[in-house]
């Protein structure tokens, strides 16, 4: 295997009323290049994670490429998934041996349409989507199952919200019982970009590359009612395969409070600092928040404050799919 490292990371989160996806992405790409003194001409492979469903337009990812510039022609790919999976593809592509650098980016303007209806479209088109279950309600089914199985309470969920910087209001009504507003992610626009580099090229580009020592992703079976929603077997397997033991910092992509507890049970993060960035309860831009978890975790190695870190990304309803990326200093 070739040694691949994160050498730079940049992101922007907010609610954007003026700029389109390309305009949100452009300064982020510029910033990540500036951090390592590169231009697009230095990049061997570009891979993106965006959603055509947010734009309501097929192949909208092609216009997002304008933020990078695709002339002269570049080597490029795209996933209709969180940018964390674009990073996985870029890591695989760098294993081919002919390229030394990759740009990975993700952009999502979640506020553009009705996000809850858009996310109902990711479900089984025959038995689920015609009922239009929204992701908060589905997460609530998981939350209740988890609380009733473990004996934990809504106060335990509120404690997670509080530790991620959310203002907790136990008297507020339910959005979907047992979840209150502070248990749910905000609807956020955002963009993130990561530069990957191989071996000596990584050492040239930054002082403390965040070397990817393990990366793996796994998926649960298709039907929500056919799996145990109270556990995350796929996150556990991915974490085991990626070698997740002994990390100092973990950034978990847990959009809902109970999901952080399920992921902590699955991954086993004894003593690790969890989500110093605030995680997805602070900002959850669709297609971006998972790549941000990897970028935020990598930044703790890049800035010298941690030796071994974990970035996790999830996709789909109720932690359907999970990716774990473990990085270390050397």
């Amino acid at each position: 295997m070739r040694d691949v490292a994160v050498v730079a990371y940049s992101a922007w989160n907010g609610v954007e009323h003026e700029r389109n996806e390309v305009e949100i992405l452009m300064p982020v790409v510029r910033d990540v290049f500036d951090k390592v003194g590169l231009t697009k001409n230095d990049i061997g492979f570009t891979c993106s994670g965006t959603s055509d469903y947010l734009a309501g337009q097929p192949f909208s990812f092609v216009s997002a490429l304008d933020a990078v510039g695709a002339w002269p022609p570049i080597v490029e790919s795209h996933v209709e998934m969180d940018g964390a999976w674009a990073l996985y593809e870029a890591w695989v592509r760098l294993q081919h041996g002919d390229l030394d650098t990759a740009l990975v980016y993700a952009v999502g303007k979640s506020t553009m349409g009705d996000l809850l209806d858009v996310l109902a479209l990711q479900l089984d088109p025959y038995v689920l989507t015609p009922l239009w279950p929204d992701p908060v309600s589905l997460a609530a089914l998981q939350a209740r199952a988890y609380l009733e199985k473990t004996g934990k309470t809504e106060d335990d969920l509120a404690a997670v919200a509080e530790s991620r910087g959310r203002r907790v209001d136990r008297a507020s009504g339910y959005i979907a019982s047992p979840l209150r507003r502070h248990d749910c992610p905000p609807i956020t626009d955002g963009a993130a970009a990561v530069v990957l580099a191989v071996g000596d090229r990584a050492r040239e580009l930054c002082e403390r590359p965040a070397w990817i020592c393990g990366i793996d992703h796994r998926i649960e079976q298709h039907q929500l009612g056919a799996r145990d929603l109270t556990r995350s077997e796929s996150a556990k397997v991915a974490a085991d395969k990626a070698g997740a033991s002994g990390v100092d910092v973990a950034e978990l992509h847990a959009p809902f409070t109970h999901q952080e507890l399920i992921l902590r049970d699955a991954i086993g993060l004894n003593g690790a600092t969890i989500n110093p960035s605030g995680g997805a309860l602070k900002a959850n831009p669709l297609m971006v928040a998972g790549l941000e978890r990897i970028g935020e975790a990598a930044s703790r190695v890049l800035d010298g404050s941690a030796a071994k870190v974990l970035g996790h990304a999830t996709s789909g309803p109720c932690l359907q799919q999970n990716l774990v990326c473990v990085m270390e200093s050397r």
Binding site: V127, W132, S137, A176, S177, L179, Q223, A226, L229
Partner: protein, 140 residues
Amino acid sequence: MTEPLVAPHVLEWGYTRSLGPTLTAFFTGLRDRKIVGAKTKTGRVIVPPTPHDPDTGEDVDSLVDVSDEGVVETWSFVSHPRPKQPLDRPFAWALIKLDGADTAMLHVVDGAIETGSRVKAKWRDETVGYITDIECFVPA
């Protein structure tokens, strides 16, 4: 002056899609007010049915009828339904394990429930072979 050429342009899906043998049986069953599950070679009954055993990837063994009545495994009460959702009044989403099934299916419940409550399908007067042929479940 010649007439401009005119050609029709209709936005459409230029294909139809078959549901395949397993889901065809499920939706045909709904039209007949029956719920069909898939029995795996290990004897587990999956509802709604899948063509393959999710644990092993093997083809399922057979299709079997299950009850339209079952038990609530988990639920969430929604006070403000969204416009496209099945009911326009407060309702509960629920994962319901039907009698004879080993997995739970998602639908909505009209009425007060808790985990373990028994509920029964309320069928529409006219059924057409959609998941919404079940208008909702109600306490049994």
